[in-house]
């Protein structure tokens, strides 16, 4: 019995070792969004292409959609861009862009040159909407359901792997939910 007691520190040490070793492989940048399960924050912002047109959060409701935060100063957004253009061509769901802390002219130029994957582009010059969304860097993408509730946040560029392993299955499920709601 006494000898067993002597092994307690070793057991504690091993348990902590396993715990900390696992911690080494966690990505500290992968943060849970505090907004998952909450509605899109209220906003009234200009449309990127036409400053006179005001977009509000109400307009993003109705369909399962992808909200993508991007900017011309963000290299990872350039990497992600062709994939989004391809998604747009497949016409699976509306993609709404939030042009985050950017200038209008270069942003429009970029879309002209690289293709425009967005159904609507919201011009968030001061980053206020970004702040309300808890954005800490671009690109970030939000999966929004048909009621305008944020269901998932993905920080980082979307590529084929992330899309087919994480985002698309979730979107399909949400679209099924939306269809059920629409039918009843």
């Amino acid at each position: 019995m006494k000898k067993l007691v002597l092994f307690i520190p070793l057991v504690i040490f091993l348990a902590m070792g396993v715990f900390l070793y696992k911690g080494l492989f966690l990505n500290p940048q992968q943060l849970d969004s505090a907004l998952e399960g909450k509605p899109i924050p209220a906003f009234q912002l200009e449309r990127l292409e036409t400053p006179a047109e005001i977009i509000t959060n109400e307009q993003l409701k109705g369909k399962v959609s992808l909200l993508n935060v991007w900017a011309t100063w963000c290299p990872s957004c350039k990497y992600e861009h062709p994939f989004l253009v391809m998604l747009k061509r497949k016409n699976l769901l509306p993609i709404y862009g939030i042009n985050y802390r950017d200038e209008r002219a270069p942003a429009l130029e970029e879309l002209k040159r690289q293709g425009d994957p967005y159904n609507v582009n919201i011009y968030d010059k001061d980053g206020r909407l970004g702040l309300d969304l808890g954005v800490y860097g671009a690109p970030e993408s939000f999966v929004v359901d048909h009621n305008g509730i944020i269901r998932f946040r993905y920080a980082g560029p979307i590529d084929q792997r992330v899309w087919s392993e994480t985002l698309y299955p979730m979107i399909q499920q949400l679209q099924a939910e939306a269809a059920k709601d629409g039918a009843s």
């Binding site: 500290p28 943060l31 505090a34 969304l133 808890g134 800490y136 860097g137």
Partner: protein, 159 residues
């Protein structure tokens, strides 16, 4: 001694100056009152920058940190309470941004863990010391044979 005091005094002055410099954020923001400034700065010191993790809002010069810092300062000047400002931050960026986590069921281990470990250590130490003292108190009786041998050894040594 006097020179030592002078050197110490100089060091104290130097350190107080460096902290005063560090307390000034990169961008200039005019607080309405010095009290607001104190509160705003201390709040921003306790909030973590979501982008440059391990830096607080004052230390970091990433655009996100600058926005959030200004937002915190503005809210302080608007007279919003600390709780309200912290709620604003955590509702957007999660509890991750708090350098001082809230006292909740899931953070009890964080807050009380060190105290618990200290107590366990003290208890173990106490038991250990007591045990040793008890074994030390046992009267050192030696047998008649040992005593004779000891005497003869001592005698031999004294010669």
């Amino acid at each position: 001694m006097r020179t030592l005091i002078k050197i110490m005094g100089g060091l104290v002055l130097l350190f107080s100056m460096t902290t005063a410099v560090m307390a000034t954020p990169v961008d200039t923001y005019e607080f309405k009152t010095p009290e607001n400034q104190k509160r705003g700065l201390s709040l921003a010191h306790e909030l973590r920058c979501p982008q440059c993790q391990n830096q607080n809002l004052i230390d970091s010069n990433s655009p996100v940190a600058r926005d959030l810092r200004l937002e915190v300062f503005k809210m302080v000047d608007e007279g919003k309470g600390d709780d309200e400002i912290i709620e604003f931050m955590t509702s957007r960026y999660g509890e991750f941004v708090l350098y001082k986590p809230k006292m909740e069921t899931k953070t009890y281990i964080l807050w009380l863990g060190p105290v618990g470990l200290l107590l366990i250590g003290l208890v173990i130490g106490f038991i250990f010391i007591r045990k040793q003292r008890i074994s030390g108190n046992v009267p050192n009786e030696i047998s008649e044979e040992d005593r004779r041998e000891l005497d003869s050894l001592l005698k031999r040594n004294n010669k």
